[in-house]
Symmetry: C2
Subunit: 227 residues, 2 copies
DNA sequence: CAGTATCCTCGAGGATACTG
DNA sequence: CAGTATCCTCGAGGATACTG
């Protein structure tokens, strides 16, 4: 970690926070991603060794704590109390960018596996019905179009193969359209109205789906910036 | 500027903000430092070419605007409206660090010329008397001990030579003590009580001095973190 | 004062293969 | 799954001298 050689809180904070990849690693940890492989998959472009090195730096700064596998619990990285207090910093940065540095998506920034992970993690599980729901996403403009999401109160998981049991809902959208919706650049009503996102299935489920879908925590800021 | 290749506000914000030196440059601009040489002097350790390159990046990001010299006004760098909106981000980072990553000063972090600049810029000029006040600082544990500060409602300036006119106040302190005071780690009363900072001169001026001295904007957070 | 131009260094981090 | 070990590259940025 680079030292600025200044006795100033902004300098000390920047030494810890303002390093390549670190804000994104904190974003993942704040979104309750804890396992090394999940962090790695959520940050395409980082190398395994750089991720390890950043996590070690954050451990030394008392922001992250590595919990070895215990009975029942998998090993993983967790924010300390001090680390959790970085949420307002990450949010302030994201809110600023949502308003001031966030345009329409560039194709190179759109990654189906990243978006599917974001969506799955933010599903409002307490609003789900008392049974397993299977949703298929058809990202019609991508090479590997089909994604399945299994929604249960206990867990939401994503897979690339048809799990084989009965489909409840089918969502059809362009990749950019689904990104725009989840990030709040367009509302569900707008996306439905212009046909960019289509949801099909039993009427009750189609109606419930928008409530299950938890948008990005930055969706309100993106929405405000898009007007 | 490095791209993270993600359509996410935190990523886009980090591309602009979370780069080496950038948070400190923004701190200076937010503190109304505008001239290239003043920015350079406030960031010991940066090279001229790196400062130029960071300022250019911030111009491209629409955060900074370079105003060429006009009649009466010197050339300088100014925050755009979007740039000024980064203040909550810089403050959130500083407040976090003040609470969680800010201990007692390391000798290598203490630089008299930096601290004198900070103090001069934050003097409460509207509380000054209706005349010029000359204050001499004796940083008794540093090689170049003597600093003079000329306080006027219109401007506060620092110099290394005795300006020659009558001295109003004399402040004697160790360098670390003066840093601790200005950053809020100790209060004026505590510093006076333990003798770490001594102020001498006419009684009325000695009484008024603590009100003239505007502490760091992060002093409340440092104070809260130091207990 | 406010930079630019040139040359060069070194260390951050990538690529790849391997491991408990 | 969660890393470590090794080797190597390249580009960010330092040093220095110069300029309108």
């Amino acid at each position: 970690m680079h030292s600025y050689g200044q006795y100033c809180p902004v300098a000390k904070g920047a030494e810890i926070f303002a390093d390549r990849w670190t804000p994104l690693i904190l974003r993942e940890l704040l979104a309750d991603v804890h396992r090394f492989s999940d962090l790695y998959r959520g940050l395409p472009g980082i190398s395994r060794s750089l991720l390890v090195s950043r996590l070690r730096q954050l451990e030394r700064a008392d922001v992250v704590e590595r919990r070895p596998a215990a009975s029942g619990a998998a090993a993983g990285y967790h924010l300390t109390e001090g680390g959790r207090e970085l949420r307002p910093v990450v949010m302030a940065l994201g809110e600023w960018a949502a308003r001031r540095a966030f345009g329409d998506p560039e194709p190179a920034d759109l990654k189906p596996e990243v978006l599917m992970g974001w969506i799955a993690r933010r599903v409002n599980r307490d609003l789900l019905p008392d049974r397993r729901v299977l949703v298929r996403f058809d990202l019609r403009d991508t090479p590997k179009r089909w994604w399945w999401m299994i929604l249960e109160a206990a867990d939401v998981s994503v897979c690339r193969q048809d799990p084989g049991f009965a489909l409840d809902l089918s969502v059809t959208a362009g990749l950019a359209d689904l990104y725009r919706l989840w990030l709040g650049r367009v509302s569900f009503d707008e996306a439905r109205a212009d046909g960019s996102v289509r949801v099909e299935g039993a009427t009750a489920l189609v109606r419930a789906f928008p409530r299950w879908l938890g948008l990005s925590p930055l969706a309100p800021a993106v929405r405000a910036g898009a007007r």
